[in-house]
Symmetry: C2
Subunit: 411 residues, 2 copies
């Protein structure tokens, strides 16, 4: 397949798939993105529609106890039969009381009426500042102007969901199943407040394959677990994280549970969401560098250690500086473990820097390798926390002055 | 009493005590601080000694699973009968294997021999970079040159324990007990990697009062719980946190359990450690502003919420920018709670910005009050997370570009 989208060495797309222009939606899907006035400039309202009445869908939402109004409204929708999603950026519509819920409900109703589908078949998503009232008029008028703009390209849509993202995150793939060719596309946005549990900021997945609800649920769940649930920009779980996947079926090619086709489709979806998740980390607020941390050890120990290291501001600052200050990795790991005497072994870019808790002396050659590894775009860190075979993987970005600048001046 | 040391509005020292010159040690104590060559310049080796053989002591150490060699060695010492502590800065002596432990042991032994006390009556502490071998020779020679420099002032000692601290943190107090006058002094250091559990970075407390071990233990424990355990610079628990308190008894004034004198002494110790803890936050790496967060709610909910908010990089960046972006406070709090529908109420500087989960509309006057409160040196935040009377208090600092600069270039 051609390169381009799958830039990370940590993602392995199936060899058989082919990358299309990123804006190409699978047949049966249309999208639009317009400016409605929430942001001072730029597109801030997106609409996604599936023309097939038999479409199946699946969704995942944040696990934060505080959720946005659109998440409340979406949770009440027919999540296995969605025909569309309406989304705004620039305002998260959180903590706006009944008025906020009413606007989210009206967004779904207006989009549904325009698309000619029942109101419960449209999902809603929002992203932006928390606690600012979302005005009804611009959003509703925005939906009305987006409806006639719906078309087969997702370019405007992918841009309309951006907040502090520096680049749009989307891709479109051709998947040659044995039963016939299908297409799979997705659009996502990241920014800050990225530490998804169960889902991530916003991601929309479309396919013209025909997939029963149960299989789609399972495929999406598995792919989300290996992608958006394994990333952290700043350890902050959003109130708005939402992933929507719609299988329209326009290709008339079915993906059935247990088939070889299901395996290829699952591998493709996995690679797609994993690369999108990595894009979110690479484009985390102020990020200049991505690290992959793999923690191995006893059952139950690896996940808290992986999170503690990935969210350590000291580790993240060292990553920004390209400084192999592994002592901070150990200290953060030690903080996440019960009082004990852990035997940490750490390797950065394949260079072992500590073994069984103690520093490994490095010769000049290894030292220079280490320095080089630490300054790459993608830094590989492996940490063993003692006996055991459980593994936890996490992707995170560095913490630089740009994160501070973006977030000291945001609201 | 005179002002000076007790600068924070969140500390209330007893009216009866008097502040002395910060370097004045209680009678029976001597200290020194010298340059031994761990750092390229500045004092980096400190020695503290108590001349009274009947001295009692108490200590607290980090709860990190990974601990420094000096912490291991100190834990094996006679912690209730310490006569001295030796400390170095510039190197944390962590993850240096048997060699690191041997250096820490030799530090204690050399200091003990010089002071003419048994080896198990000297504690050891270190602070600085993790994972770099601590060379034996400069440290041991440093102790030998510190021994003849021991004197009644703690000025050099207070400076010798500094790492990224911008100012030395120490104070000396006269406490007029009914049974007679005693003195109480302490020296501390902060920096980064500050989120102590059970103890804090480094703090040394001296008094010439005579206090039995059991009472001293209890007094120190209570004061540490209300001071160093309630602060966070960056949520990173150090491997080296240590607090040592020595009661020499040279004043021949006893502090006995249950007496009025014990109460006054306890209040004084509480104010002293609380102000020192606040100094650590105010002098956190790159810090420009301190916040006090008080969380009220159901039993068990307030502590994780307080930690989650205090350690949120988004909340800390907003604090740096003087931006009352309370949505980030709610999102961080929601992340720490089990899936539910929390009714958050938030006030910043006395201005209520959200009630029962929804934004409170502010008139111009309140908005200007809020802005003013958010830009002060000490920002007061109160968060109610629903029904319940449990309260958790935490002090934290902002996250500015200077934190990143210090920590991207540290090792």
């Amino acid at each position: 397949m051609s390169g381009g989208f799958f830039r990370s060495r940590w993602v392995e797309p199936p060899g058989a798939i082919e990358e299309l222009a990123p804006e190409e939606l699978p047949s049966g899907f249309r999208a639009a993105g317009v400016h409605c006035g929430i942001k001072t400039s730029g597109r801030d309202l997106g609409l996604l529609a599936c023309d097939n009445d038999e479409a199946t869908s699946a969704a995942r939402f944040t696990r934060n106890a505080l959720v946005a109004a659109p998440v409340m409204v979406s949770r009440r929708a027919s999540l296995s039969r969605l025909r569309g999603v309406v989304v705004n950026s620039g305002n998260a519509n959180v903590s706006n009381g009944e008025a906020g819920v009413a606007v989210a409900e009206e967004m779904a109703a207006t989009a549904a009426a325009g698309l000619g589908v029942p109101r419960d078949r449209v999902g809603v998503a929002s992203t932006g500042v928390i606690g600012l009232g979302l005005e009804r008029t611009p959003v509703i008028e925005g939906i009305e102007s987006a409806l006639p703009a719906l078309g087969p390209g997702a370019d405007d849509f992918a841009r309309s969901i951006m907040t502090t993202d520096r680049w749009p995150k989307y891709a479109s793939l051709r998947v040659p199943l044995a039963a016939g060719e299908v297409r799979l596309s997705a659009q996502a946005k990241g920014g800050g407040m990225i530490s998804p549990g169960f889902a991530t900021m916003l991601c929309f997945v479309e396919t013209d394959a025909a997939i029963d609800v149960h299989t789609l649920e399972r495929l999406l769940g598995a792919a989300v677990e290996r992608s958006f649930e394994r990333i952290s920009v700043d350890g902050q779980m959003s109130t708005n994280d939402s992933v929507f996947a719609i299988a329209g079926g326009a290709s008339r090619v079915g993906v059935t549970a247990g088939s070889e086709d299901e395996l290829l489709f699952a591998q493709t979806l996995d690679a797609l969401l994993r690369q999108l998740a990595l894009e979110m980390v690479a484009d985390g607020e102020g990020a200049t560098r991505v690290a992959r941390l793999e923690v191995t050890g006893a059952t139950g120990a690896t996940e808290p250690v992986a999170r503690a290291v990935a969210n350590s501001p000291l580790v993240k600052c060292a990553l920004f500086g390209g400084d192999p200050n592994w002592g901070r990795i150990l200290a953060a790991a030690g903080q996440a473990l019960p009082d004990a005497d852990p035997l940490f072994t750490v390797a950065i870019g394949g260079v072992e820097v500590a073994r069984d808790g103690d520093a490994v002396p490095l010769d000049d050659e290894r030292r220079s390798e280490l320095k080089h590894a630490m300054r790459g775009d993608e830094v590989d860190i492996r940490l063993s926390v003692g006996v055991g075979n459980e593994t936890a993987e996490i992707f995170f970005c560095d913490l630089g002055p740009e994160y501070v600048r973006v977030n000291a001046e945001y609201s």
